[in-house]
């Protein structure tokens, strides 16, 4: 009987520790994912993930803390956008300033398509 409880305890400890390491692993994956989507403001041209600058290291710690607080990915992006402006994320928002940037490829695409269509089917 004692043997059985010992075995049971051992299994319980194993399962718990495995679960904990799995969760830690998940967290670090999420930290990597978020930091890859953030621009380092000190070492411009690098992402926070790539950079080893003090700024980037601190941001990574901050992301870790926020995840542990239970904040979602979007909440973390929003928080950093509020602090540093939209520029910190690699995903530009759709607004008046960059309307041309978003629309231009579409225009080019349709225009080019029309051109090809005319060449192939009308001539």
């Amino acid at each position: 009987m004692i043997k059985l409880t010992k075995l049971f305890l051992l299994i319980l400890i194993l399962v718990l520790s495995f679960q904990k390491s799995l969760q830690a692993n998940n967290n670090s994956l999420l930290i990597n994912k978020i930091s890859k989507n953030l621009r380092c403001l000190i070492c411009q041209g690098q992402s926070v993930y790539d950079s080893q600058s003090d700024f980037a290291l601190s941001i990574k710690i901050l992301i870790k803390n926020k995840i542990e607080e239970g904040k979602s990915e979007k909440q973390i992006y929003d928080y950093l956008k509020n602090q540093y402006g939209e520029w910190i994320v690699y995903d530009p928002e759709f607004n008046k300033k960059n309307l041309v940037l978003w629309i231009f490829p579409l225009i080019l695409f349709t225009f080019g398509g029309l051109l090809i269509f005319r060449k192939v089917f009308i001539n």
């Binding site: 403001l41 000190i42 411009q44 003090d54 700024f55 290291l57 601190s58 941001i59 710690i61 901050l62 803390n65 602090q83 540093y84 402006g85 520029w87």
Partner: protein
């Protein structure tokens, strides 16, 4: 005729692109976050450098008309440059100058203050840099002028210059 129109449009297009790039040449390509005024100052608690007691930033800010929060570190060269200006400011005015010691070793920070003088009323510490991120700072040195209602009146990125000091004196009067 049709060809002519095509070529002139092409020509104009290239001129347009040339102008865009030419104007872009002079633009600085280093982004600094816009210095939005009247943003709320994020309150934080952290340890004091000398006392090792926890302090809430609100307690320090509330009781003064203006507080100058200076993010500094002993390893940061520009901080050495601006330090004499902070010492001047301390002598000339009675503005509440608070330091935030950024990612620094305690011994080095104290050595730095012994060498260059201590203009700070209190020095809070930010060992892992997360407080500075919460404040919206992105490096050292950086200085915030905060009023008693926890609004950021001015934010100076990089070392303070003499003009900045004059501006601070003017505002804090």
């Amino acid at each position: 005729m049709k060809k002519n129109i095509f070529y002139s449009i092409l020509f104009l297009f290239f001129i347009f692109i040339f102008i865009v790039f030419y104007l872009g040449l002079d633009k600085p390509n280093f982004y600094t976050p816009s210095e939005s005024k009247n943003k709320n100052f994020t309150t934080f608690t952290s340890k004091e450098l000398f006392l090792n007691d926890e302090f809430n930033s609100n307690d320090i800010i509330e009781n003064n008309n203006f507080t100058l929060l200076n993010v500094w570190a002993s390893w940061c060269a520009p901080c050495r440059l601006e330090h004499s200006l902070l010492m001047d400011l301390k002598e000339k005015t009675n503005i509440n100058i608070v330091g935030l010691n950024y990612k620094d070793k305690k011994n080095n920070a104290i050595k730095f203050l012994n060498e260059f003088g201590n203009p700070f009323v209190k020095i809070l510490t930010d060992p892992d840099g997360t407080i500075s991120i919460a404040l919206g700072a992105y490096g050292v040195p950086e200085t915030f002028l905060v009023n008693s209602k926890s609004k950021i009146v001015r934010k100076y990125i990089g070392p303070l210059k003499t003009d900045d000091i004059l501006e601070i004196i003017k505002i804090a009067k």
